[in-house]
Subunit: 548 residues, 2 copies
Amino acid sequence: MVSEQKIADVSFESLLRIFTIPEGPDSTLTQIEDSLSKNLNQFLREHIVAEEKPLHEIEKDFSNAAIPEQPEFVSDHTEHLLESLVSHSVHTSSPSFIGHMTSALPYFLMPLSKIMIALNQNLVKIETSKAFTPLERQVLGMLHKLIYSQNDTFYSQWMHSANHSLGAFCSGGTIANITALWVARNNALRAEGEFKGVEKEGLFRAMKHYGYEGLAVLVSERGHYSLKKAADVLGIGQQGLVAVKTDHNNRICPADLKLKFAELKQRKIKPFAVIGVAGTTETGNVDPLKEIAAICAQQSCHFHVDAAWGGATLMSSKYRHLLDGVELADSVTIDAHKQLYIPMGAGMVLFKNPDAMKSIEHHAQYILRKGSKDLGSHTLEGSRSGMAMLVYAAMHIISRPGYELLINQSIEKARYFADLISQQVDFELVSQPELCLLTYRYVPENVQAALKQASATQLDELHELLNELTKIIQKKQRETGLSFVSRTQLNPIRWAQRDTIVFRVVLANPLTTKEVLSSVLDEQRNIAKSVPDLMTRLEKVASQVLNQ
Amino acid sequence: MVSEQKIADVSFESLLRIFTIPEGPDSTLTQIEDSLSKNLNQFLREHIVAEEKPLHEIEKDFSNAAIPEQPEFVSDHTEHLLESLVSHSVHTSSPSFIGHMTSALPYFLMPLSKIMIALNQNLVKIETSKAFTPLERQVLGMLHKLIYSQNDTFYSQWMHSANHSLGAFCSGGTIANITALWVARNNALRAEGEFKGVEKEGLFRAMKHYGYEGLAVLVSERGHYSLKKAADVLGIGQQGLVAVKTDHNNRICPADLKLKFAELKQRKIKPFAVIGVAGTTETGNVDPLKEIAAICAQQSCHFHVDAAWGGATLMSSKYRHLLDGVELADSVTIDAHKQLYIPMGAGMVLFKNPDAMKSIEHHAQYILRKGSKDLGSHTLEGSRSGMAMLVYAAMHIISRPGYELLINQSIEKARYFADLISQQVDFELVSQPELCLLTYRYVPENVQAALKQASATQLDELHELLNELTKIIQKKQRETGLSFVSRTQLNPIRWAQRDTIVFRVVLANPLTTKEVLSSVLDEQRNIAKSVPDLMTRLEKVASQVLNQ
């Protein structure tokens, strides 16, 4: 090849070319795309470096705030992306990446994603999405039926009705949860007499009209952090997010929920929603949905279920009973980009009552005119992509029984891993898997013995050291790049609610084998041995306890 | 080929294959993807049917709410998608689709999108995005610099600072605007003395603490409909969105803005933000940003600019003066999926002050820990995809001068089209293009003459008929599928603010030629002739006026 230096030029003709002439079959970009299409895992293994580069080093490559004055050739820039971005991205689909809810993707979704992006539809209105609008309404109908099991008449009446909506497709679970609470808040503070409703007059006047001193949303102590954001943005305030006590399985205590209702009533604070969590982010537990539903019915309170992660369990005939009571919820959040194996950006909220979303309906002159079927009149977001197509395709290609197999194997793999951890002399299972998520920590054998006999002060000391050890192991394991588990802080009843840092594992990737799980433990054990100082301090305290 | 009927099976082995074995080179999906990659426009021309199928017909294909119990082969399902979805989607990248802000995409973004989706990063935290986090921070830095032109020291100090944020990458302009107003609201109602801030205590207590009777956001009558949603969700109420009068060019009247401030003060209502629009959705006009900024400075009020659509004009040295004053804004919304030619789903909000977003900062135990650089601590959304990569790549491959050419040609094409419309005896230009958006309507020659002499009652009558005609033309033009303009309703001062339905044209597609523009007018003229009843009624009223 002649080494002829080519400089990209800026002319209107060269610009038109990028809109009309595709990358040739020999271009760097096409070749990279091809190799990725042929074997994604190999591509990622080859291109993502294993050893972690410190973030401040990576930042050096992304430090220029000036928009380039000189265009780059696509091929040159693609090489640059491979070297500086792809190589230092996270191999989220690796079988040993078991720390978060992001898993592997089915292959067929990648070409379909490209088609979806090339079509570049905007789902806010029919004029820019056409058939994508009924498709999205069908997808919402499918999820609605999965939860609420209404009959065909129901769906033929409401699914495509211009003035109704079975839910909203969102960028993710946070927006889905905010949408549910927005609807609940507006329905609780609806128009009445002279008062035109909170959507028109705002919260301050709504409170004065109804004579409330505040608003509240009740949620388990283990609710997702994003609910605080929701309470903030909706004007309720984070203090309005009232934490309900949980039991030793991290599930809401119905008795405490009742108590909280009574307390709020005394303080003239209106609880307008209770959130049941179906799959807590940190421990994967499911609240007692039926009992919560009964209390909500009694209190005439909106019952929302945050099943962003766990909702997919409804696909499994074998395990859907774990979410019993979800069908009693007024609204449910499910993220398709979690256990439905769709790429990032596919959240949904479903409402039992097709009229529920009227309280947040919006119209405009140039779109979303009254009587139109434009989806934008019932979504918090405006312009949105055609992601629903990927959910639709996956539902058809994988089918319900296919999803069932995936869900079942995840749950059963988690149970297997929990057993494996329990069998080790130097690991402690902190939370049992209810779905496919569990937490545990590394605790050397004699430290385990010491924990059983230690005084409160000694327990404090041991926990502090163990927390430090867990942090170090998690960080080192991530840095070496062989496998990844996440960590969080729990307050287990067993340890008198002491701050307890744990490894957190989510087993949704169907490619994660038993061998991978064993090696994750081996690796952690070895890392522990590589921090002798800390281990020695732990052993020392343990010996004191055991020899006292 | 042997016609052997194959039925897709459900077994864990077959499921594993969809995660490990790519579509073969001869598969239907690969072939479709190839043909799309080779020539997108041809692919869309061939697969999207021209004649519009009525929505209720399309809905029949999307009417089943049951999740399939039987898996489909990828190839079969792909054929199905082509026939029932792609064929009835909207050809948004067509040179004659000039009705909305969705335009053609550069080719290189399609393979890059596929790579982005295959990497499936989650930008909420570094553990699931790594290098994508500094990349997104750089993209925000680039847009920040484009607006605020701070020096290198500024960006090296703040762009990658864990406790600061120059903005937020969002799914779109609506979320970006909500984020800006959320920040402004929380800063206006911050902690003070005993009061812990609106984010903690909520709106009701905030109002009582500060002694306000309400909150307000001031915006031009032509502000985007989504701002009503924002006012609703933030608890201010739609009545809190105070409309400021606009002049004959649809720009805010500074005198009226001052008046509104005074009125609100008297009513003890706190205006916590003024929104200047830089490119109104319906007419493309830009508010007098400098004058608004001066008033905001005087009133100590947050100044937000909604430049979702027009912000890209800053790329043009020639035309960036049209947005003079934007650099005085406290926050600015820009959508990259509009005039930066990025696929749907790339909104951004930038804040002048790197400390501004502290008022909405959120943390959690398992991610977003204090001091971490996780992006999720400053975004309304949680899990998000790596869309920023596409903006980054386009900035490098197209470069600033390339974008300038694109912006300039759009603006100049709109001016050309405005001239062309003005030269016709039977069209009326309703709003001049300030950027690349204009509105007009079809008005037969003698009706134009009649409009000049008509009495108020006659004007009412003529406008009503013209409105009906514009609606019919727009609808028929869309249905025949040759070209697409949108429509909206304006209240031009010239017509004594009568409801005036107009065609709305956005000229961002670089492939739209002068010939396309001529043929759009010819087509509209021909459609008008095809509704003789209405035309006769119009002519009759016009004759009455002219012969009186």
